[in-house]
């Protein structure tokens, strides 16, 4: 099977922690069919998992009556992933996590999710739907690129 431009795959997850792995597995399968290299598939899996965890925990407040939508859309040069929840979205980006402050107890040891998403994919934006239909995070990972971190590490 080959994934062509315009192919779209949708998954709906219950708002229960752990189900992010279903989205992660689906995204990995689509990316593999598109020909992404294994290291980029790993980047995508972590970014999708973190986006789903944020949607389940913060967007839908762990309310299992609400679901999280994950829409994967293939294009010629990459894969777009939208993770949609019923929350109000974020008003501002949290500061970049500081390991020294975390280890010294001056910052919550958690709170790495958004940082990891931004570091691992080529585009990440958080969008609030003004019509009250929920919010979404949109991620794009491109076929012809390696992550910024991998580039800088060389």
């Amino acid at each position: 099977m080959v994934i062509t431009t315009g192919t779209s795959v949708e998954v709906r997850l219950p708002s229960r922690l752990g189900f992010e792995k279903v989205a992660m597995g689906t995204a990995a399968s689509v990316a593999q069919l598109m020909g992404f290299p294994p290291e980029r598939i790993e980047d995508l899996k972590t970014a999708v998992a973190e986006a789903c965890i944020n949607a389940i925990e913060h967007g839908n407040q762990l309310n299992e009556k609400l679901s999280v939508g994950v829409i994967l859309s293939a294009s010629a040069d990459g894969l777009e992933v939208k993770v949609v929840d019923n929350g109000e979205g974020i008003s501002k980006q949290p500061p970049k996590p500081d390991i020294d402050r975390k280890v010294h107890g001056e910052e919550d040891p958690r709170g790495m999710g958004m940082f990891l998403i931004q570091a691992l994919v080529d585009e990440a934006e958080w969008v609030h739907d003004s019509k009250g239909n929920g919010s979404y995070v949109r991620l794009v990972i491109r076929l012809d690129r390696e992550s910024e971190f991998d580039k800088e590490s060389k």
Binding site: L17, V22, I99, K102, G105, P109
Partner: protein
């Protein structure tokens, strides 16, 4: 849905005679792992150098990273040395990105990790 975390602890001794605790994790490291990970940590906390073995872990999320940072907080307070081994190349990269390498050396295998302590 999440794979249960199992944490076991054994002890090894370096060629120089230093006794080291080895925490070996199996399964996922996530928010559901808190009791397994931090419960096991309490038995080695403040009791000499510690190795963290991730060679049987397939999935670590940001909540799991938070648990690892919690262990490093306690180790830092007591001056306890910690080193990590067995991460996949991807999670080696993620640990480096978030800065864990500053507080716990990231190594390929148990021998090199033990030698670093």
């Amino acid at each position: 849905m999440q794979t249960e975390t199992r944490t076991t602890i054994d002890r090894t001794t370096t060629s120089g005679g230093t006794s080291i605790s080895v925490m070996r994790f199996t399964g996922d490291i996530s928010s559901a792992s808190k009791e397994s990970v931090l419960g096991a940590w309490q038995t080695v906390s403040g009791n000499g150098p510690v190795l963290l073995d991730f060679s049987k872990v397939e999935y670590i999320n940001s909540s799991g990273i938070g648990l690892i940072i919690t262990m490093l907080m306690e180790a830092d307070k007591s001056g306890q040395k910690v080193a990590v081994f067995g991460l996949t190349p991807h999670f080696q990269k993620v640990f480096t990105m978030v800065g864990i390498g500053k507080y716990a050396g990231l190594h390929k295998d148990q021998e090199t990790a033990a030698a670093s302590l």
